[in-house]
Every structure is written in structure tokens, then in C-alpha cells.
């Protein structure tokens, strides 16, 4: 009876230990969060976001830095420098923009985008240099703008 309870005790300790190790291992090897599953904290259009950042960077960082946000804007160009897929969104002037560094596996959905097309992009806002930088982005939807006024 006594020996039996010792065995059970050891077994429980072992179980807890292996669970702990397994958990630690999972944390250690954790990948970056998948943006598809992350909840959007804020939605904003590209111009407004740039205005907020150019007016007061510290305040803008408090509001947007490291947050999952959705940005609506017009495609300026696509770049494939350094083996990254980047969508550059139009800014307030030619001197600023929003750089959206796309998450892996986004190439197929972005390769056909054309300058001037309106897109909605979800990603993590990292901050501002001359441009606002968004990482781990995914394309949410495309909407071709009709230039009827031109």
C-alpha cells in the first residue's frame, strides 16, 4: 500500500516535470505569431497614419507601435529587395510612404498588384523613420480604383 503510493507520487512528479519541460520547449521554439490569427487593434488609412506620425512621433508610437493594425492605402510600388516582398503605399508626399514587409507566402497574392490600386493590409506597426514600417504583413483585400475623374 505504502509502496504503491510512492510509485504514484513519483509518476505524478514525472508527469509534471515532463509537462514543464514540454511547455518550456514550446515557448523557446515559438514562432512569430501568425498575423492571420491576430486580432486587429486599430484600422486607419495610410495618409492619416503618416499625418499622425509626422505631427508627433512619440504620441504616434504610444498609439501604434508594436500593435497589429490595418491600413488602407494606394499601392505606389512593389519591391523585392533582399528577398523580401514589400508593398510600398503612397504617403502624403513622394518623400514618405508606408513600407509593408509581407509575411512569408504572400507572394502569390501580391504579385499582380498594380500601382494605384487600393489595398487593405494588416501588419505590425514598428515605427517611423522617413517611412512608416509595418512588418509581417498580409494582404486583406484589393479594390481597383476607377480613375473616372482623370
Amino acid at each position: 500500500m505504502n509502496r504503491r503510493s510512492t510509485y504514484i507520487g513519483i509518476l505524478i512528479v514525472l508527469l509534471i516535470l515532463s509537462g514543464g519541460i514540454g511547455y518550456a520547449y514550446r515557448i523557446w521554439n515559438q514562432d512569430y505569431p501568425d498575423i492571420v490569427k491576430e486580432k486587429t487593434k486599430l484600422s486607419i488609412d495610410a495618409q492619416t497614419l503618416l499625418e499622425v506620425y509626422t505631427r508627433d512621433e512619440t504620441m504616434a508610437n504610444e498609439r501604434y507601435r508594436e500593435k497589429v493594425i490595418e491600413v488602407v492605402g494606394q499601392v505606389r510600388e512593389l519591391t523585392f529587395l533582399n528577398n523580401r516582398n514589400t508593398i510600398v503605399l503612397e504617403g502624403i508626399s513622394t518623400d514618405n510612404s508606408i513600407l509593408c514587409d509581407m509575411q512569408e507566402g504572400q507572394y502569390e497574392s501580391i504579385k499582380k498588384l498594380l500601382p494605384g490600386e487600393q489595398v487593405r493590409i494588416k501588419g505590425i506597426c514598428k515605427g517611423y523613420l522617413k517611412d512608416i514600417i509595418l512588418l509581417q504583413c498580409i494582404l486583406i483585400k484589393t479594390q481597383t480604383q476607377r480613375n473616372t475623374n482623370k
Partner: protein, 185 residues
């Protein structure tokens, strides 16, 4: 009406012809900086692909600015530790470099190896550095600067807890590649 238009176009054409001098300032908004830490317990490497840099070929001056939380690691835990424990990116979000390329001959005939003397600022700590770089003039519009150098973590007051010392190298190898285009403001 048509004549005015033709005249206007001609005038515009002339203007652009006059402005055909090579630009003085070049910019990259997507420069690449990677770092490597080779230590006995593990190797860590990360890349930042959104480094901003402006190169002025009339004064040979170069300025670089980057977001520390823009580095991408293999694992998100490394990213977290890097920003929270070591770089304290909330307090010091940017790292910058300002320097001057010595003896740069413009226009570049071919590839040149030059020294950039300047000041590197990480965590608000300034340090004078000399960085060797290879400069290539790819075509009329593109300059590429490439190179690597090392920084000691002690110089920038980066504290590593004793238990983690085998995991973090004392000197970090840094590699950079900037592809500059004419800067149109």
C-alpha cells in the same frame, strides 16, 4: 490652344534637360543590416530590411537610421529578449550612424574600397567607428555600399546576465548592404 500646349511641352522638356546633372543625394529606404552573435551555447542572427540611409556624393557624407524593433529573428523569443532585455527598444527605438567616406572619387570608375569614419549611436551611446566599405556604381542611378564590422556589446552598455553569458557573443558581427537611388524630394 494647341500651340500653347506644344510650347508648354517644349518648355518642360528644356527644363528637364537642364536638370540632367547627376543628383547629389541618394537614398535607400530598404537597406539591409544583419548581425551575428557566435557563442558557445547558440548562434543568433537577425536581419533588418528597412534601414534608411542617405548618401551625399558632393560632400561624401552618409547618414543611417534604423528601428531596433525591426530586426527579424528565427524565433520570436529571441526577438523579445533582444528588444526588452538587451536593447531596451522602448527607451531607445533607433540606432543611427553619421559619417564621412574618405577619399571618395566621384564619378566612380569601378568598385572602390573606402573607409567611413563616423559616429555610431546605439542606446543613446555614441561611439566613434571606422567602417570599411566597398562602393560600386552599378549604373548611372545606383550606388551600392557593402561591408561588415564588429561592435563590442560592452561599448554600448548592453548587460548580459551571468547565466546567459555563454549564449551571447562579446563582439557582434554586423553586415550591411545599401542600394541607393537618386533622392527626389
Amino acid at each position: 490652344m494647341n500651340k500653347i500646349l506644344v510650347f508648354l511641352l517644349l518648355f518642360l522638356g528644356l527644363c528637364s534637360f537642364e536638370a540632367a546633372e547627376p543628383p547629389e543625394q541618394y537614398i535607400t529606404r530598404q537597406g539591409q543590416i544583419s548581425f551575428f552573435s557566435y557563442a558557445s551555447a547558440e548562434n543568433i542572427d537577425a536581419q533588418n530590411n528597412q534601414v534608411l540611409s542617405i548618401l551625399d556624393v558632393s560632400t561624401n557624407q552618409i547618414a543611417v537610421s534604423m528601428l531596433m524593433n525591426g530586426f527579424r529573428f528565427k524565433k520570436s523569443l529571441m526577438h523579445m529578449h533582444f528588444n526588452e532585455s538587451y536593447m531596451e527598444s522602448d527607451l531607445y527605438p533607433k540606432a543611427t550612424f553619421e559619417g564621412r567616406i574618405s577619399d571618395l572619387d566621384i564619378p566612380l570608375a569601378s568598385e572602390q574600397t573606402r573607409l567611413i569614419k563616423g559616429v555610431l549611436t546605439i542606446r543613446d551611446i555614441k561611439k566613434e567607428v571606422d567602417i570599411k566599405t566597398v562602393i560600386t556604381h552599378v549604373d548611372t542611378d545606383t550606388y551600392v555600399l557593402e561591408g561588415n564590422f564588429e561592435v563590442s556589446i560592452k561599448d554600448f552598455d548592453i548587460k548580459v546576465p551571468p547565466v546567459l553569458e555563454p549564449n551571447i557573443a562579446k563582439t557582434i558581427a554586423i553586415k550591411f548592404r545599401f542600394e541607393y537611388q537618386p533622392y527626389e524630394k
